[in-house]
């Protein structure tokens, strides 16, 4: 296991493995996991022009959920959350609740800024745990905001709650919307691609935004067995580390992401060689993808393991990205192949032979999922193959 000397003295506690017993997913590519997975496998992309979200600042393309109606009043946040929760079983009432959203119902701000609106609380990140708790009869919860690493850190926090023995069950819900607000913002930063994004491609030119939601029910193995729930996958380890370098640009040598991955491996007590495949962040920006490839090369060296990004198909779903990608990662582990990296036609550098626009089969039981975000926040999750498919 390659650990830098910087972490040689941190003694991770080999955690109790955390089971994932139930999952649900809604993306622009499909109303559930099966539909999204089929779309990914077929190489489809949901990134299209979104003229209703464009502004004088420019045109907009993105992956909006086509079957999600715009309510006459209020945010699209609630219809998306309700659709997601309908696909999940009732969580046990002693479930810890951890959610991840960066902007919650920010589409409401137009209403607040210009016209006045009574349902303003949906704008606050606390709205997500509050609404989930209310609908599931839970006592309360917390929301994690860590930019594009929010979901991965939410999963890590939920898993650590179980691993430390402070909870037996945890419900994780991740959600973010495609809105004029975020499109205008990323356009102002000149981070958007005018065409659907091309993760890890030599000619990539920026990201494409999307929206979606994911939910996962985590349990200790003992609790899952008592409740007769199957293991759809496991969380084996997690890690988070910061670049401490720049607010909007990643550290080019990838050292923050390297630390996060090393921490995850250390916590899982697994060698690097145990990782069979990688679901990367892969936004399609020049700097993020270059940073990730630099980090992966430091971790995996010359090994040619399959690697993918789903953002060319479903867009960058911001705070929900890690949760959505974790669910897809579990599916990939079960099916034993990674979906195509839509948009990648000519992989750059280290991605060559590892990232393709075709599905890639792999052997092995462990998948690494990574996300990185503004603030130089990096997070990594190690997922294990379950006893039954997600």
């Amino acid at each position: 296991m390659s650990c830098s000397t910087e972490h040689s003295e941190i003694r991770g506690v080999a955690p109790q493995r955390v089971w994932i017993t139930d999952v649900a997913l809604v993306t622009a590519l499909g109303e559930n996991l099966a539909a999204t997975w089929d779309g990914l496998g077929a190489g489809r992309s949901a990134i299209v022009s979104q003229p209703h979200l464009a502004g004088a600042w420019g045109e907009a393309n993105g992956a909006a959920i086509p079957f999600l109606a715009q309510p006459a009043q209020g945010s699209r946040f609630m219809p998306l959350l309700e659709r997601l929760l309908k696909m999940m079983p009732q969580a046990p009432l002693d479930s810890a609740l951890v959610t991840a959203t960066t902007k919650a119902g920010v589409d409401l701000l137009t209403c607040l800024s210009l016209q006045g609106c009574q349902s303003w609380e949906a704008v606050l990140p606390e709205a997500l745990p509050r609404q989930v708790a209310m609908r599931q009869g839970l006592g309360g919860g917390i929301n994690i905001s860590a930019a594009c690493a929010s979901s991965t850190i939410a999963l890590a926090r939920a898993a650590s709650r179980i691993a430390s023995g402070r909870a037996e069950v945890a419900l994780v819900v991740c959600l973010d919307l495609l809105t004029a607000f975020v499109l205008a913002g990323f356009s102002a930063l000149k981070a958007l691609s005018s065409d659907p994004c091309r993760p890890f491609d030599l000619k990539r030119s920026g990201l494409s935004l999307g929206e979606g939601a994911a939910a996962m029910l985590l349990m200790s193995p003992a609790r899952a067995r008592r409740e007769g729930r199957g293991c759809r996958g496991t969380i084996l380890g997690w890690g988070a580390a910061s670049d401490a370098s720049h607010l909007t640009a990643p550290l080019r040598d990838g050292s923050g992401l390297v630390r996060a991955i090393e921490l995850a491996l250390q916590q899982a007590a697994l060698p690097t060689a145990a990782v069979a495949a990688v679901c990367a962040h892969g936004t399609g920006t020049r700097y993020n993808d270059a940073m990730e490839l630099a980090a992966f090369e430091r971790i995996f060296g010359a090994r040619r393991l399959p690697l993918c990004s789903v953002k060319g198909a479903i867009g960058h779903t911001l705070g929900a990205a890690g949760g959505i990608e974790a669910v897809l990662g579990l599916k990939a582990l079960w099916e034993r192949f990674l979906p195509p990296t839509c948009g990648c036609r000519q992989p750059e550098g280290w991605a060559e032979g590892r990232v393709t626009s075709q599905s890639m089969a792999f052997d092995g039981e462990v998948l690494l999922s990574t996300n990185s975000g503004f603030g130089g926040i990096n997070a990594a999750l190690l997922l294990g193959r379950g006893e039954c498919g997600p």
Binding site: L109, W120, S164
Partner: protein, 239 residues
């Protein structure tokens, strides 16, 4: 897992301080003081004037906590930070929305957009203090949530030290009426017990929640008051 509070700092409408170095801690009032970065931060930030009130507040309280712990100088490798907030960057969100409407909407502000995430605070703190551990912001009904999360991280070896606390510049002006609370920030530095004496020991209660030196903690203000009662950290009397 037990952790020690090694340093503590706060900013409220009644002033800035750390135990033994200020007027009594009072979480009251609605108008926060101007943050003097030359007095409070370890080094001036060229872009400090462009930071929103929430970020300035959090950075200043973090600086005070680290100064209180005698750890201001140098990079804090493998130290993480977690902060609880309610309104977070909402004022900046509104400011960015307005920038989407000026000049015909052609020039939304990239400078503002970069701060339309509550986690921009911990990102800036990471850059200023060299924090390479985990960093995120949480929304929770309890202002002790960040300390619980920090304790969890320390117990699992995810970081050597954790900064944890609360930061909120309050409800934006002109926002629809809602609950009113005193804005401010309280940040503490936690290390695993056994690595220093500090103000006292934080631990989990068997019935849930946290205790400090064996007595249940009600909220963050309770922690501050009890640390103040302990007196300044050794070596900080003339800080």
């Amino acid at each position: 897992m037990r952790a020690v509070i090694m340093g503590l700092g706060w900013i409220t409408a009644r002033g800035a301080g750390r135990p033994g170095q200020s007027d009594p801690f009072v979480l009251a009032g609605t108008v926060l003081p101007a943050i003097d970065q030359h007095r409070l931060l370890p080094r001036p930030l060229p872009h400090f004037g462009r930071l929103d009130a929430y970020t300035r507040l959090g950075l200043a309280a973090t600086a005070l906590a680290l100064r209180d712990a005698g750890q201001e100088a140098g990079a804090l490798r493998e130290t993480g930070i977690v902060c609880t907030t309610r309104y977070g960057c909402l004022q900046t969100d509104l400011d960015f929305m307005r920038s989407m409407t000026v000049a015909g909407g052609r020039h939304p502000s990239p400078a503002l957009f970069a701060y339309t995430l509550p986690s921009a605070l911990v990102g800036e703190a990471g850059i200023l203090f060299g924090l390479t551990g985990p960093a995120y912001v949480t929304a929770s009904e309890s202002d002790l949530a960040s300390l619980e999360l920090a304790l969890e991280s320390l117990s699992l070896g995810e970081a050597r030290q954790m900064l944890a606390g609360w930061c909120d510049a309050g409800r934006p002006e002109g926002f629809p009426p809602g609950d009113v609370f005193a804005p401010g920030a309280v940040i503490c530095l936690m290390t695993p017990a056994g690595q220093g004496s500090g103000y006292g020991v934080i631990d989990w209660r068997s019935t849930g929640g946290l205790c400090f030196d064996g007595t249940p903690l009600r909220n963050l203000a309770d922690l501050v008051v009890r640390c103040i009662e302990k007196g300044p950290m050794a070596g900080n009397e003339h800080g």
